[in-house]
Amino acid sequence: MSEDIYREMILDHYRNPRNKGKIEEPDIRINDSNPLCGDEISIDLKVEGDIIKDIKFDGRGCAISQASASMLTEMVSNKPLTTIKDITKDDVLENIGLTNLGPARIKCALLSLKVLKLGMVKYYVDRDPTSAAQMKDESKVF
């Protein structure tokens, strides 16, 4: 039932998103959208010595996609950039407390993770183009 999805925590992050906005001169800026529903997420990152010093997301979309993005930024803030590689979709779903989503809505919940991983890949590939193939394999969400 929907009451199980739209709990206080989700609604709180939806209405009061953490780390929302843009970073001036980010080291990474990346965005993607969900073609089926039009959810959009863009993520800016500031990286210092491989540590995520600042992260901001921006976007429009449903409560699930926006709350999930908000919680994801909290999850990786001040962590090494490489931790992004190891975050699984189950990690994100457990973190936001939604492990029973149907196939249509699960894409909303995971859009921000997809964008974050794309950003990490772009960051490393820009610095070492030969790592492209391996990085792409390691960062697939779906």
């Binding site: 929907s2 999805i5 739209y6 039009g38 959810d39 449903c62 409560a63 809505r105």
Partner: protein
């Protein structure tokens, strides 16, 4: 007031309306603009073809193939009557409205759209009436102009007149528009628009995907040059579309899909194409579903398209008035039901349409949420998405009441 249709009786003809969802709830199906449900006689006609006379059409001389050919061609005649076309050969079967429009873009478009020409669309078009023209225009060096839609969901015919009068560079070579918006619900004055275009010798393609299923269609009266629509939005099976083209235009058009069945003779170096309309139906068509479509047309004819329209008017009126009871609701399109088909798009402030649709699903209510394949219009309305409830012959006021209860419940869940 006496109900216009015997909806209780109609509902018995649709097996899906009797099913129970996960938690025993009834299905409240309000996504008819996406696809409608199918009555038993359509499902039975498809089964009968496969179990009784399954065979390929047009070529074989044995009995069951002749039966299949006869039923397939009977559908063509039934479609002709349904839209009141003059000739049977003006009716081409495709897969869907999208393919019908693509056929016109590739065949007619490539022969007639030249560098510097303009194709006039509107801002409320479905992607299927935008993308084929974008591809054509890119390859031909032509341009698209969008006729604006105002905030209440209407077109300004004076602006249209000005655009149609343009000469030289920027002259309009084709108008392609939907007779009814799948988001705003507006029914546009097709006959008047076509008359205006014809005064300047500009042909008009009418996208009838939303209008043909819901009101009487008469291609001789509207005088459209092309009409595209889909069977599955009018009780018929998926995988069957129709393209009507005026015979004089069709005779000049080159084939789109080429290969089997659309030829008279094939030699090593050249081919003589088949007669109309077979020239435009390359390969084995969707025989079973075309035959099934006949039963859908028969069903709608029995009810009468005027009665379909009247029933939807009554339901839309009720939906428009009840939905205003929901706090913080934004309704898109015309304020009055008479200017609308049977659909209403809306947003509740503070609830994204996907969240709204998820909560409505708890009530068994099936509505559509998203951009409805009309992102140009979404940009104009400055929204990412909307919710849409769309009605058909089997929907009742009780179902609309359930929708309203569910919307109020969504507001409670979001603490609004």
């Amino acid at each position: 007031m006496q109900a216009l249709l015997d909806v209780r009786k109609i509902r018995q003809d649709f097996p899906i309306l009797n099913r129970r969802l996960k938690d025993g709830k009834k299905l409240v199906y309000l996504d008819n603009a996406a696809t409608t449900q199918k009555p038993n006689e359509v499902i039975d006609a498809i089964c009968k073809y496969y179990s009784d006379y399954n065979s390929n059409i047009h070529r074989a001389v044995y009995q069951i193939a002749e039966e299949a050919t006869e039923e397939y061609e009977r559908t063509r005649e039934n479609v002709r009557k349904f839209v009141n076309a003059k000739y049977e050969e003006e009716i081409i079967f495709t897969r869907n409205t999208t393919e019908s429009i693509n056929l016109v873009a590739y065949s007619w478009g490539n022969a007639n759209i030249k560098k510097g020409n303009t194709i006039l669309l509107t801002e409320y078009e479905h992607h299927s009436n935008i993308v084929p023209w974008q591809i054509l225009c890119k390859s031909r060096g032509a341009r698209i102009k969008y006729l604006e839609v105002d905030e209440d969901g209407y077109l300004d015919l004076e602006v249209l007149e000005e655009l149609l009068s343009r000469k030289g560079d920027g002259k309009i070579k084709l108008v392609s528009l939907s007779e009814m918006s799948n988001v705003l619900g507006t029914i546009f004055p097709a006959t008047e628009i076509i008359k205006m275009a014809h005064e300047k010798n500009i042909p008009v393609l009418l996208d009838g995907a939303q209008s043909v299923p819901h009101m009487k269609t008469d291609v001789q009266q509207t005088d459209c040059d092309f009409l595209a629509f889909s069977a599955h939005k009018m009780l018929g099976p998926t995988g069957v579309g129709v393209l009507y083209v005026k015979k004089a235009i069709l005779e000049q058009m080159k084939p789109f899909i080429s290969g089997g069945d659309m030829i008279k003779e094939v030699h090593k170096e050249n081919t003589i194409f088949n007669d109309l309309p077979y020239r435009f139906e390359g390969g084995t068509p969707n025989i079973a579903d075309v035959i099934g479509f006949s039963s859908a047309l028969k069903y709608l004819n029995r009810i009468g398209m005027e009665n379909v329209r009247d029933h939807e008017l009554e339901m839309t009126n009720y939906l428009l008035s009840r939905i205003q009871e929901v706090k913080n609701i934004i309704v898109y399109g015309p304020k009055v039901a008479k200017d609308r088909g049977g659909l209403v798009s809306f947003n509740i402030e503070g609830i994204h349409p996907h969240d709204c649709a998820t909560i409505l699903n708890d009530f068994g209510v099936a509505i559509r949420s998203g951009h409805h394949c009309a992102q140009v219009l979404m940009e104009k309305l400055d929204i990412v998405a909307s919710s849409r409830a769309s009605l058909y012959i089997y929907n009742t006021k009780e179902e609309i009441d359930i929708l309203i209860d569910a919307l109020n419940h969504a507001r409670r869940i979001f603490n609004l």
